[in-house]
Amino acid sequence: MSLSESARAASASESRFRIDVPIAPARAARVIALDDRAVTVARRLAERPWAHARFYTAAGIRDTDGLLHGLNGGISPLEEALTGTDVVVVLATEDGGRAAAAAIGRICRQRSITTAGVVLGDGFEADDAVAALRPYARVLLLTADESDAFELLTALRV
């Protein structure tokens, strides 16, 4: 009996003929830490080799006119720092970054930038930050495992 098209196409031998080209990083990501502990995590992440990701801290930002501090130096207005990006990953560990979270979320929504929030810790210390991010973040990852942030960025090929 001859194989159906689906059976033949799904076989291990046919997988050899899949087009195999390098996958270029497709995301221009901004990673923004909202509080001091999140900045520590972001610094560790920033040491890894990323394609286009840029890392900032938003500590002290209260509205969309605020300034982001680049982890490698430099200051950018929030609006400017988010220009040209298609995904923003926000890191939070406590409620201190609530206003910044809301400001970032509002801009991302206006510009159709996909937003993801990684909330590190037991979740209770960052309730307000989570609530502020919830309306905007396509995904909120609530985790005690710092390496989840690295896994997320890796999976997104940033």
Binding site: S6, A10, I23, A116, G123, R138, V139, L142, T143, L152
Partner: protein, 428 residues
């Protein structure tokens, strides 16, 4: 995206592999109880985690799961005679009990002690609900029996089926925590499937096709909350629990029975999908049970005498392009289960995850892979018992709920996602 070495770690479950050893920490479904319907019935071939075995039910109703091959010359005990409280190889008459202990070697002298030194590998086989469960790990670390609600409610409240899936277990499992595909792939079923249709929650599903997700650790694995807009100022949440390594539940719809899955590796290129429906507080109606038998909901029509789906890769899943064009089905494949399986099998036996382009909405999958990898390595390197072994971790439920926008699904649904005997599921 996963590196090749991590993909191999997560997809290889044979003896001695990290994931294989992880699976061997848990009780897993081995076969359906209906496959061994009476004492001394024919034995059944069982392949799990790349090990070949036979299951049998002896003259006293005890279940056994032993190495498939006779210790004498390696003949398959599937041909064995199940009689007199043991399984006898028909080649030369060697006989084994349910523990794999050889109890008779006819060619030896009467009263010879030879057979006492012949022991087939065996694993415990225990009936809970419609399922026979086995534990394939070290007897010293055998955990208590599973406490999943679906196998502990009365028989009239539960139904379980299984089907063979021609892909690695991880491909199948990942579909269980991937809520964002439902609005597309299963959109036809929300309108027409007798085990899905009519729920208020379906309207929210269909109106808001771009859900937001929240992923949070649980003691045994994860909760994945998918959020859609509901009435002004509220969100419709669908909460999917995952208990490691491979148990997931689908959030309920109205008063329909609650369903879910357990994915069990057969070998690295095949798996069993166990699909169940149960209602926590009432018997399934005759109509519901018949719909399940007929392959509706999460179940599948299988080729009689087998657990292979009628629609399978050898017949192109009976794809119906006209039904697709009409909108009866989104992909042209009928049935929720085969809509999933057809696409998961199309990826190939073991998909190359280094080629993926994941998006933030895939965070549940990203996190689950991470948890599996870490648990497998912690077990291998430090002997750490993984999440999901403790039966307390099994006492979870899925839930569907409408909440004010400011509320956290985790805070608001703490009771809803726990088993509460005698209390109905939380559903919309």
């Amino acid at each position: 995206m996963l590196r090749k070495d991590i993909n191999e770690l997560l997809t290889q479950t044979g003896p001695g592999t990290p994931m294989g050893e992880l699976f061997r920490q848990y009780w897993v479904p081995a076969l359906l109880a209906e496959e061994l319907p009476e004492n001394d019935c024919p034995p059944v071939r069982v392949k799990l985690l790349s090990e070949r075995m036979v299951a049998f039910r002896d003259s006293e109703g005890r279940y056994g799961l032993v190495d498939e091959f006779c210790a004498h010359r390696g003949a398959s005990l599937w041909f064995g005679r199940n009689e007199g409280a043991g399984l006898r190889c028909p080649y030369h008459g060697w006989k084994y009990d349910i523990t794999g202990q050889c109890i008779e070697v006819p060619s030896e002298a009467d009263n010879s002690s030879f057979c006492q030194n012949v022991q087939l590998t065996s694993y415990p086989l225990v009936k809970l609900g419609d399922v026979l469960w086995t534990y394939m790990g070290d007897t010293a670390t055998q955990p208590p029996l599973p406490e999943f609600e679906w196998v502990h409610v009365p028989d009239e409240q539960t139904y379980t089926s299984k089907r063979w899936q021609q892909s690695n277990w991880l491909q199948a499992f990942e579909g269980g925590i991937d809520s964002s595909h439902v609005t597309f792939l299963h959109s036809g079923g929300l309108k027409s499937d007798p085990l899905f249709k009519g729920a208020k929650g379906n309207e929210y599903n269909m109106k808001d096709t771009k859900p937001f997700f929240e992923v949070a650790d649980s003691d045994g694995g994860l909760f994945v909350g998918a959020r859609r807009n509901a009435e002004e100022g509220t969100y419709y949440w669908r909460i999917t629990p995952w208990v490691m390594p491979a148990f997931t539940m689908v959030p309920p719809r109205g008063d329909h029975p609650v369903h879910g899955h357990f994915w069990v590796p057969i070998d690295d290129e095949n798996c069993w999908t166990y699909s169940f429906d149960y209602h926590p507080v009432r018997a399934l109606t005759d109509t519901e049970r018949q719909a399940m038998i007929d392959g509706h909901g999460v179940h599948t029509r299988t080729i009689p005498g087998t657990y292979r789906p009628v629609a399978n890769m050898d017949n192109d899943y009976l794809i119906d392009r006209e039904a697709q064009k009409r909108g009866d089905t989104y992909s042209g494949v009928a049935g929720i289960a085969m809509q999933d399986a057809s696409l998961q099998e199309s990826m190939g036996p073991i998909v190359d995850r280094s080629k993926e382009r994941l998006v933030p909405a895939d965070s549940g999958i990203i996190k689950a892979r991470q948890k599996l990898r870490k648990a497998a390595i912690a077990l291998r390197d430090e002997g750490v018992t993984p999440p999901g072994v403790n039966p307390e971790h099994h006492r979870v439920r899925s839930a569907a709920v409408v909440l004010p926008q400011a509320e956290s699904f985790l805070d608001s649904c703490r009771d809803a996602v726990k088993v509460n005997p005698g209390v109905s599921q939380t559903s919309v």
